[in-house]
Each structure stands twice: as structure tokens, then as C-alpha cells.
């Protein structure tokens, strides 16, 4: 596979990765700290015969994504926290109508208008169903720009595989940082999955297709829900992803995702210099959460220490995974404050 290495900002790398995954349709409304995705798309998509549209709102955006996805084509949008809140009704419709598409939420401090600094306080919204009804998003959290590229591509593939929306949950740090990245080659559009059995393309010499999340009959709607749940069960079995760092002989396990997962590696190295053996468990798929491996690792440590840029959201999944085998402690910064390795070290050492 031919690849090239470039210095890129996270937001731009995500946009280019999407195009290389075969995405030719982007709809979006500007919001910091991710507007570079829209700007990049507005420049790049016309070069590849794609369509960029700046919408009138995130409400319109998510529904344009719904319409485009219903034609079976790869489509994405990106936003930041308040914008993703605004999209939730549409996200629920898309999940209910079983349409593949990709969302990017470059999370900023909240609640409300909050600020524009990196945060992880939208974890519940992302993983527990931000909209109404029993649905799940496939949620992936990158911790480097390279990984953002890979996960963006994976997000499109998973969305197609499960006919379900996928979400890249990043934060302002990932969006704004520059790093060298290797980009994959352009995907040949003719190799994209065939959706001609359900897509809305005009019923030319076939029976009309109907794409909806609607069923007036509760038994019928329950059957639709069973189908969704079967997919989710399969995703839980097949799509748990994580990274481990020095977990082999760790006496304590540090857990964090995205930007925090990256910072925790320096924490582990610092503590190792002081003779304290710790390791990092970094969930990559936030849904499905990698409970299985976390449980195994928890068996071998004295306690688990979870760090987040929130008041403690993922820690609830960590507790579910650990199932009370060992204590689970938490350290968090809120409002867009990124914790330093030193302050995490001292918070950790207080627990010893």
C-alpha cells in the first residue's frame, strides 16, 4: 500500500482521511474547535467531484446527512458539543432508519456555551444514547493524529458493516494539534459496499424502497428494535478496541481515553522512575466499551485509577468492567482544563 507522510492538524487529517475513505458529501455548520474540518472540506471536496454544503444549523445538518445517507453514499459531518446536542433528534432517526454515516464531535468544555477548550464531558451523550430511544452509536476515540486518521476510516467501515451511525469522539487537543501522519491511499469508489438492496435511488425497474424509523404498530416496532439490539450484541462481541501500555507487570492500572490516554503514558513512565509499576488501559472504542479486557487486567492490580477531563463519566463504565474486584479511583479536571502528568502523579500517589 502506497502511503505518504505529512505534517497535519488533527482536524484536517480527519477531513482528508474521510475523503480517502470514499466520503464525497459533507454538510456542516461552523463551530470551534473543529471549523477547520469544514474549511478543509470546502476546499478539497470540489477537487474530487464531491459536495460541500455549509448549512443553516446543526438541525439542518443532521437531516441533510440523513437524506444523503439514505441514498447509500458515504457522508459525514463534524461539530462540537453544543452542535452535537442540537443534532440528537436526527441522530436517533438515523440510527432507527439504520443508515450508515459518520459524525465527528470535537468536544469542548460545557455545559451550555461552556468554552472552546478540550474536554471529555460528552462521554455520556456519546455512549449512552444522546437522543431518544434504544439506540447506540459506534464510538471511537483517537489519542494521536495518526490514530484519528485510522479511526476515521474505520468509522466509515463500521458504519457500513452495521448500517449504523459511527461517531469519532475527539477533543480540542486532537483537533488542533499538529503531528506527522501517514495517509492511506484514495479508496477506489467502485470498491465501496453495495447498498443497492435498500438505498433510495429511484425505483427504476424494482419495487420501491422505504427507509424509515417509523412503525405505528408496537409489535412491529418491537421487532425493529430487536433487530437493532442484535446488531449491538454483535458489535459488543466483535468491536471492542483498546490499547495497553506497560500493563504486563503493573501493580496499578491507569485508565483514560483520547488525550488523557496519551498523557497517562508519560505518567506511567514518571512513576516507573520512582519504582512504581503502573500501566495504561486506553479504551479506543468507547461503545462498545472494552469491558472484557479491563476485567482481566483488573484481576492483577491493587487498584484502578481513572482520569478524565470531566467530572467522571467513563469511570462508570470502568466500575462496570471492574465489577468491584478492586477499588476504582477517579481524578478529573473540568471546564476544558487539561491535567498535567505531574498533577496526575501526585493525585495518584495520594492513593498509595
Amino acid at each position: 500500500m502506497k502511503t505518504e507522510k505529512l505534517m497535519m492538524k488533527g482536524n484536517e487529517a480527519i477531513a482528508e482521511a474521510a475523503i480517502r475513505a470514499g466520503c464525497r458529501l459533507y454538510f456542516g455548520y461552523p463551530i470551534t474547535p473543529q471549523s477547520e474540518i469544514a474549511e478543509y472540506m470546502s476546499r478539497r471536496l470540489p477537487e474530487v467531484d464531491g459536495t460541500f454544503l455549509q448549512t443553516e444549523s446543526e438541525v439542518a445538518t443532521v437531516n441533510m446527512v440523513y437524506g444523503a445517507a439514505s441514498t447509500g453514499k458515504r457522508v459525514m459531518t463534524s461539530t462540537s458539543s453544543p452542535g452535537f446536542s442540537l443534532m440528537q433528534e436526527g441522530v436517533s432517526y438515523i440510527a432507527g432508519a439504520e443508515l450508515p454515516c459518520v459524525f465527528v464531535n470535537v468536544v469542548r468544555g460545557g455545559p451550555g456555551l461552556g468554552d472552546i477548550q478540550p474536554a471529555q464531558s460528552d462521554y455520556f451523550q456519546a455512549t449512552k444514547g444522546g437522543g431518544h430511544g434504544d439506540y447506540k452509536l459506534l464510538v471511537l476515540a483517537p489519542s494521536t493524529i495518526q490514530e484519528a486518521v485510522e479511526l476515521t476510516q474505520l468509522a466509515f467501515d463500521l458504519a457500513d458493516k452495521y448500517r449504523n451511525p459511527a461517531l469519532i469522539l475527539a477533543d480540542g487537543m486532537i483537533g488542533q494539534m499538529m503531528e506527522p501522519v501517514e495517509l492511506p491511499p484514495m479508496r477506489d469508489l467502485s470498491t465501496l459496499p453495495d447498498h443497492s438492496d435498500w438505498a433510495l435511488t429511484g425505483a427504476n425497474e424494482r419495487e420501491p424502497h422505504k427507509v424509515t424509523s417509523f412503525n405505528i404498530d408496537p409489535y412491529g416496532l418491537e421487532e425493529m428494535n430487536k433487530r437493532y439490539q442484535e446488531k449491538y450484541t454483535r458489535a459488543v462481541r466483535e468491536e471492542q478496541r483498546w490499547e495497553e501500555y506497560k500493563t504486563d507487570n503493573a501493580e496499578y492500572l491507569l485508565v483514560g481515553y483520547g488525550t488523557v490516554g496519551r498523557i497517562l503514558k508519560s505518567v506511567v513512565d514518571k512513576l516507573a522512575e520512582e519504582g512504581i509499576a503502573t500501566g495504561v488501559f486506553r479504551p479506543i472504542s468507547l461503545w462498545p466499551f472494552p469491558y472484557t479486557r479491563l476485567r482481566e487486567l483488573a484481576e492483577a492490580v491493587k487498584f484502578v485509577f481513572t482520569v478524565e477531563m470531566s467530572s467522571g463519566q467513563m469511570v462508570e463504565d470502568v466500575r462496570l468492567g471492574v465489577e468491584g474486584r478492586v477499588p476504582v479511583h477517579f481524578y478529573g479536571r473540568m471546564g476544558g482544563v487539561v491535567p498535567t502528568p505531574d498533577e496526575i502523579c501526585s493525585a495518584f500517589k495520594k492513593l498509595l
Binding site: 458529501l25 454538510f27 459536495t51 454544503l53 448549512t55 443553516e56 444549523s57 438541525v59 439542518a60 445538518t61 437531516n63 441533510m64 446527512v65 440523513y66 437524506g67 444523503a68 445517507a69 439514505s70 441514498t71 453514499k73 457522508v75 433528534e89 436526527g90 432517526y93 432508519a97 433510495l200 435511488t201 429511484g202 425505483a203 427504476n204 425497474e205 420501491p208 424502497h209 422505504k210 427507509v211 424509515t212 424509523s213 417509523f214
Partner: protein, 249 residues
């Protein structure tokens, strides 16, 4: 009134029995749209977007590919489809609550972008599906379940005139307000719908036909009374008119 399609009806109707009340205009308008789709020979490349409202099942009634948009968002959904498949014909079918209250922004901006889309807008001055609450187009003094003393401007503002609003927009290629009360009105409405489709097919711009329609059930009238009330009251507030015609003959 027309609540059932006797077979032998337009090819572009599926034949599924309509869910509309006796005397409701939704069914007549469906039939006109289907006839136009047949006559233009576009059934195999048409995609329709149904709203949330009494016509939520419209995606089942038309024998074309279709979906149901979230309440008010039909024109955003249709925009996404049309941008993905520019050579298909995409139309939305929307009520007044859908198009002129919750979906006003999507309506105005789709028109403003001159999306090559066609919209059939059913203005029945009431929220039919949810049981007869005030609509943005409810007339002053008109009683609904949420204006029990009649709509009062001081509290509820004035009826929204969508066609007049959109008529200033350069992206609009065809815009007419019609009704389907008399056979002559029906013939005229059909001509308007055809032009609203042609505005799209000829790539000129956005086409919309506002149809003043009855809701006998929520108006608390017989079909005949409803017909008369529409002609005597609604057409005064909402004059029948061609607002924009860039399609020609």
C-alpha cells in the same frame, strides 16, 4: 369525498388505502401529484420525503422510493438526497406546522439556496395529526384546541404567509397558492404542481405549491361546510396567486 383510490388510479400511487378523514384534501392532492409523476414519466427516478403530520404515511401511498423526515426537516433531508443524487427528482410533502413552524428555517434556506426540489405545502390552518391545535397559519379568531377563545393577535401573532415570504427569494423558480375545492381549482392546482416539478427537472430552482386545504375533523365541520369555510375565509387571508413563475409554458 375522495378517501380511496379506486384501482385504475395513477401508477405512482401504491394502492394502499388512504388514512385520511372524509372530506380531507390530503387525498386529492396525493392523486394530483401521482398523476403528474405519471405524466412526466419520472416514477423510476423520484424520491419522496413525507413529513410528520397527518400525511406521515405518504411515503407508503406513493409508489416511489421514500422516507419520513423528522418533524419540520423534510427539506433538509431532501437537500441531502438531491446533493447526493442530482439527477433524481426529489419532492417533499408537508403540513403547515411542519413547514411553517418547526421547519421554517429549513424551508427558507432550501428556497434561498434554490435547491432543485419540489415542495407540496398543505395549509389547513391547523395541526391535524395532534388533534387540532393552533398552526402558524390559523386565522385570527379561529378556534382550535389551543386557541379556545379564537386566535388573538396579541397573544399568538398573525397567520404566517409562507408564499409571500418566499416570493422575495431569488432561488425560487415556481411558487403558487392554490386550492382544490372545485373541479376548476383542481385543474389549476394540477397545472401548478406540474410546474413546480418542472422547475426542478429543468434545473431552474426551487418549486413550491401551497394548497389551501380542509381539515373537517379538527375544524368541527362536515366536508361540505369545510369546503365553504375554506373558500369564504382562508382565501381572503391567503389569496390564490402565482407568486413566481420562471418555468414558462
Amino acid at each position: 369525498m375522495e378517501t380511496k383510490i379506486a384501482f385504475g388510479g395513477p401508477k405512482s400511487l401504491s394502492g394502499k388505502e388512504f388514512t385520511y378523514c372524509p372530506g380531507c384534501h390530503h387525498g386529492i392532492v396525493h392523486r394530483l401529484i401521482a398523476e403528474i409523476i405519471d405524466e412526466l414519466g419520472i416514477q423510476g427516478k423520484t424520491i419522496m420525503v413525507a413529513p410528520v403530520g397527518c400525511s406521515v404515511f405518504a411515503y407508503e401511498f406513493f409508489d416511489v422510493d421514500g422516507t419520513v423526515a423528522p418533524h419540520g426537516r423534510a427539506l433538509a433531508v431532501a437537500t441531502g438526497m438531491k446533493r447526493a443524487l442530482p439527477d433524481r427528482v426529489v419532492f417533499t410533502y408537508q403540513g403547515d406546522g411542519d413547514l411553517a413552524a418547526i421547519g421554517t428555517a429549513e424551508t427558507v434556506h432550501a428556497a434561498n439556496r434554490g435547491e432543485k426540489l419540489t415542495t407540496i405545502f398543505i395549509n389547513n390552518a391547523v395541526y391535524g395529526m395532534t388533534g387540532g391545535q393552533m398552526a402558524p397559519t390559523t386565522l385570527l379568531g379561529q378556534k382550535t384546541t389551543t386557541t379556545p377563545y379564537g386566535r388573538r393577535a396579541k397573544n399568538d401573532g398573525y397567520p404566517v404567509h409562507i408564499s409571500e415570504m418566499l416570493s422575495t427569494m431569488v432561488g425560487v423558480a415556481y411558487l403558487e397558492r392554490v386550492t382544490v375545492s372545485t373541479p376548476q381549482d383542481i385543474r389549476n392546482a394540477k397545472k401548478a404542481i406540474r410546474k413546480a416539478f418542472l422547475a426542478q427537472i429543468k434545473n431552474i430552482g426551487f418549486g413550491l405549491v401551497e394548497v389551501l386545504s380542509t381539515c373537517p375533523t379538527n375544524w368541527g365541520m362536515s366536508p361540505v361546510e369545510a369546503q365553504r369555510w375554506l373558500l369564504e375565509n382562508m382565501t381572503k387571508e391567503f389569496p390564490l396567486k402565482v407568486f413566481v413563475d420562471k418555468v414558462g409554458d
